[in-house]
């Protein structure tokens, strides 16, 4: 792991009018590090993710990102062109519902190729080869490249969304409940794939999940949110094996054992 963080978040706060989304969030994320944000519905974890990924403007606070040229920039003060570069190339965003992150009426190959074209790739044959390679890496058969994701199962759609996000070699990927809404066997396959890709590519990732097993499997560190505040944070196995806060103890003790 590198000695310089990729992202520095300080006092990040988001209000919707007078209603609190999240407040006073502080953390640093290092290259290769996976951070899980856990909590129940309404705890502010999705608001935090959307603010961190520049989909929402914070009410106060800042998020400094180390650009590829090593300069530090507050992501809320970037020009439109710079922000586009981040969201199309250097960042990925995996939505819970693949339909939010895919174009459902163009082919699987075009879904992957589109992000390459956005960064200036123009050679059709090369784009198709790269798309094929990525479909293979997410275990989608090559003969499905011309099919639309409408004809894919939920698990396949989610894998396609992951390929679409990773094809540009992002350094930071945001994930919102990436395994939510999938059957458990499909979840297991996706989790294994994510774990493998994150490790191989040395990605940094911020994963929002309400599933503590997902956090345990994917993340190095975790933050527990309640009512918009981070109430406990630390090494993932420390938080799960020795939870301190009453709410974290409740969450951990509510896991069903099989």
């Amino acid at each position: 792991m590198s000695d310089e963080p990729l992202l520095r978040v300080s006092n990040l706060t988001k209000y919707y009018g007078s209603r609190l989304g999240c407040a006073d969030v502080n953390f640093e994320l290092y290259p290769g590090e996976v951070l899980a944000i856990v909590g129940e519905s309404g705890s502010g974890k999705t608001t935090l993710l959307n603010t961190l990924s520049a989909n929402l403007e914070p009410t106060s606070g800042e998020a400094l990102y180390r650009m590829r040229d090593e300069s530090w920039r507050n992501i809320y003060e970037l020009s439109e062109a710079e922000r586009r570069f981040l969201t199309r190339t250097d960042w990925g965003f995996v939505h819970q519902n693949p339909a939010d992150g895919l174009r459902m009426t163009v082919s699987a190959g075009a879904n992957v190729g589109e992000r390459l074209m956005a960064v200036g790739d123009r050679h059709y044959g090369k784009i198709r080869d790269t798309a094929l390679d990525w479909l293979g890496r997410v275990e989608i058969a090559a003969d499905r490249i011309d099919d639309q994701p409408r004809s894919f199962s939920g698990g396949m759609r989610q894998r396609l969304q992951i390929a679409r996000n990773l094809v540009t070699g992002p350094r930071l990927v945001f994930m919102d409940e990436p395994t939510g809404g999938l059957d458990v066997s499909v979840q297991a396959r996706l989790l294994d794939l994510l774990r493998q890709l994150v490790g191989e590519l040395g990605l940094s990732a911020i994963v929002v999940t309400h599933d503590l097993a997902v956090a345990r499997l994917l993340s190095h560190r975790m933050m527990v949110m309640k009512d918009g505040h981070v109430i406990e944070a630390g090494l993932t196995d420390r938080v799960l094996d020795d939870p301190r806060e009453p709410y974290t103890q409740l969450l951990v003790s509510s896991i069903l054992q099989v």
Partner: protein
């Protein structure tokens, strides 16, 4: 040379879901382990042996005290270290053989064992070759190597776990009952592997309920009952 130095550790659990009651576990836990030495924690169930192991590895936080681990010529306190430092120490300095295997869906037994080498930069084929050697040594039938261990018996899972824990060279190694569900032949293999780690200068801290195994591997026994919390009268 001291490889692990535990200084005045204390731990109390506060159970918020049970009216905030306090469960004192241990206090004043203090001992040192030298390179090449195997120290076994002794005492009855519930005395806090597992808790001490988990504090040393950082699974459990501590209320006070230090866990000093030799790393890069310094003694680094894992108990107060930030998460990144703990992960670095776990990568380079301290390993843990847990009692139960936490299986990952779809990953084969061979890759479960090879993984710690792969994440430390060993070439995948070389890592798999060495994983195979470990599994052979522990008598895990080769037909099981390509299968995910989730459906293995307790003893088979434990052997996968031991292979995974012993494949790296960590100067400090924690052993949580690594022989609990093994037959006599495989217990002997593990005793041999521990002896080899000693010769390589690894400092080990373990829990062994099996008296025969304990007698064979322990250089010293630290009695955990001496760390019981003295309740105020």
């Amino acid at each position: 040379m001291t490889a692990l130095s535990v200084r005045n550790l204390a731990k109390t659990f506060t159970m918020h879901l049970r009216g905030g009651i306090s469960l004192p576990v241990v206090e004043n836990v203090t001992f040192d382990i030298n390179a090449g030495e195997c120290v076994v924690l002794g005492g009855p169930s519930g005395a806090g042996k597992s808790s001490i192991l988990k504090m040393v590895y950082g699974n459990y936080g501590v209320d006070s005290g230090e866990v000093l681990i030799a790393h890069d010529g310094d003694m680094v306190d894992l108990a107060s270290a930030d998460p990144r430092t703990v992960l670095t120490l776990r990568r380079d300095a301290i390993g843990y053989v847990s009692q139960f295997l936490r299986t990952v869906p779809r990953v084969s037994a061979l890759d479960v064992v090879a993984e710690p080498l792969v994440v430390r930069g060993t070439d995948k084929e070389e890592a798999q070759r060495r994983a195979g050697e470990m599994l052979s040594r522990l008598n895990l039938p080769e037909r099981l190597w390509s299968l995910p261990p989730a459906t293995f018996s307790g003893g088979e899972q434990q052997r996968v776990n031991i292979a995974r824990g012993f494949i790296t060279h960590h100067p400090v190694l924690l052993l949580d009952e690594p022989t609990a569900s093994l037959d006599a032949a495989n217990r002997a293999v593990v005793v041999g592997m521990i002896a080899q780690k000693k010769r390589e200068g690894v400092a080990m801290l373990g829990i062994f309920h099996d008296e025969e195994v304990r007698a064979e591997v322990a250089d010293r026994i630290v009695d955990v009952t001496g760390f019981a919390v003295r309740q105020a009268a």
